[in-house]
Symmetry: C2
Subunit: 365 residues, 2 copies
């Protein structure tokens, strides 16, 4: 089993990210050894529940733990205060008190929302993240950000709340639709670009093991991503400085998502294009070689996705400007160069518009 | 100005509790020197707004700060997720972003609810507590507990979230109804009983200054209470151990409040009786002398309040048993003895029932 400790400054103790194929079947054993709660609330969605809730419950029951499953509808549309309120009420109905832990079993939506519930029910219950999508395993489940959406925007309500354990079982990726699975490699490639070039080499050499979803290889890949994210989060829990490097590709990526109302591109697909645009700007600034930008382009081509639409530059810039990343009229942008080294720098509107223009010229057919 | 630093372990920095008559008029100057936010959201209720919102806004405007006042209905009935949601939406309407701070201007309800909003809006904005009731000044505003009610109970949703500053102006107590003002001395007397016997002597010798609401004397009293609370909270932010001593008198006090649906007794009044009952049990255990219990009784008589009703012991025990303080079938109870020293000890149902019986026999006419 791969164990990656995450030591957040000022948190009472480090917590571990455990990564191992088949771990879901051993979750009861692992929890029994690590947490004192006899009763756990398992928050999951209808899709994940169908595949994995019985495995988790059986494993916990086999180790004498009582489970309170709470199953919510699937999808970002349900990541709302109304769902949170319904979860609170259901937890009360089922007698949840401060002696219980919360297990978040699912993808990013479940992780964010269950994390918020755990942070706020009776001022906080211990939280165990059990991410079941690749995106959640390499990103959302690590770092302590929780959140729910308001009608006017995503994650406008939330809290920083660290789990006591993250348990990753790459076998859960078996049931992911191919597009969802592949898109998450956008985030994996991001970690390679900002900090771990060797990760990109691994992907390159063993791409067939990615295609077959080899759980042992995926465990290695996930472990490298988690290692990068944990290191960055440890240095900047509250996202006020260095943690911004995790947003490489996200400024323009988010604009592509927002401009299409989050209905056309997967997050990982959008940030692949965002990384190319940020890479292009990095080339203009002399940090990155054209060959390295070509390597980023290679990954964009490798991951199947919808074509880039004929956006207007103004339209994408609008979404960047209203995004919370623009502060005090300065846009902090993440550049890379060489591959594996990220830089946070103020950039001008003109520079960002030029990068968007280059992106559209290069990829819109 | 009295300045009491509060150093919570694992928090990025200590924060100060400032106590001074007329401080509200100087709030702009104080904030300008201490926080970087140019814009502040002031959350308050209709009653407090009438007296103090103009003073606070004028003071902030005089120091170049922009204010966003949000005025909610007064009272515990409005400490709900619906009000919180309305505050979030109003903050969005008014362009509140992460560069803004939240000022909680009001009593415990405003402090708890604004604190929760500050903890969760965009994953946390800096929070300044400006408590305007004696109860909030000596208790609720210190310690980082925030919360809102669900239909089934008080503070079932909340977070631990420390302010960056607490500003206490004893002149705001001028406008408190006499009963609300006097009842808060229940909490003041509690601090004396658990940790600071000299505080009780001060009250005794200068009771007339309490009656006239002398702001300089009140500043001294509040400072002593805050000093005790800060020391206890620093040792146990998350309320898992030593912080329980702050609940002296609260187990039976809460039961008196709950059994009357929070409509008959003020919180401070209820805990006065709760402290007597806990004191009685402390006498039985040999920790407290009958004379010391007499001193507690003296304070009960001094603070005017409704008579103690003819409760059934079963009825009060029921509310204790469902209260979150009963864990794993063990009731942890706070005893004192001698005055100024608190002890957290497991007690039996029989012992608690005996203390309730003694209380009713002594005070029900």
């Amino acid at each position: 089993m791969v164990t990656i400790p995450v030591q957040i400054p000022r948190q009472p103790a480090a917590y571990d990210v455990l990564i191992e194929p088949h771990l879901l079947h051993r979750l009861g054993e692992v929890l029994k050894a690590r947490i004192r709660c006899e009763r756990t609330v398992i928050i999951t969605d209808v899709n994940v529940a169908r595949w994995y809730l019985p495995i988790v419950e059986n494993s916990l029951h086999a180790h004498g733990m009582h489970t309170i499953p709470i199953v919510v509808p699937a999808g970002e549309d349900h990541k709302t205060l109304d769902t949170v309120r319904w979860i609170y009420e259901t937890m009360l109905d089922r007698g949840t008190d401060r002696s219980c832990a919360v297990i978040a079993l699912g993808g990013g939506v479940i992780g964010d929302m269950s994390g918020f519930v755990a942070a706020t029910y009776m001022r906080g219950l211990p939280l165990v993240q059990v991410p079941t999508t690749l995106l959640a395993q390499v990103d959302a489940a690590i770092g302590g950000k929780t959140g729910v959406n308001l009608p006017r925007g995503k994650n406008l309500v939330g809290a920083f709340y660290q789990p006591i354990l993250v348990a990753v079982d790459p076998e859960t990726l078996d049931t992911l639709p191919d597009r969802i699975y592949m898109a998450a490699f956008g985030e994996v490639i991001k970690y390679g670009c900002i900090q771990d070039p060797a990760l990109l080499d691994m992907l390159e050499r063993q791409w067939s093991r990615i295609r077959t979803r080899d759980p042992d290889f995926l465990a290695e890949i996930i472990a490298r991503c988690v290692t990068v994210k944990a290191a960055v989060v440890q240095a900047d829990e509250y996202d006020t400085g260095r943690r911004q490097i995790l947003n490489f590709g996200h400024t323009i990526g988010h604009a592509l998502e927002a401009a299409t109302a989050y209905t056309v591109y997967q997050h990982g697909e959008a940030i692949l294009w965002g990384m190319w645009a940020a890479g292009w700007l990095s080339v203009q600034k002399g940090y990155l070689s054209p060959e390295e930008l070509g390597a980023i382009e290679h990954w964009i081509e490798r991951i199947p996705k919808p074509t880039l639409r004929r956006f207007k530059v103004d339209q994408l810039w609008y979404h960047i400007a209203v995004d919370k990343k623009v502060r005090d009229q300065t846009l902090h942008f993440i550049l890379v160069g060489p591959i594996g080294r990220a830089r946070v720098e103020p950039v001008t509107e003109t520079e960002v518009r030029a990068a968007i223009t280059a992106l559209l010229e290069r990829f819109v057919e």
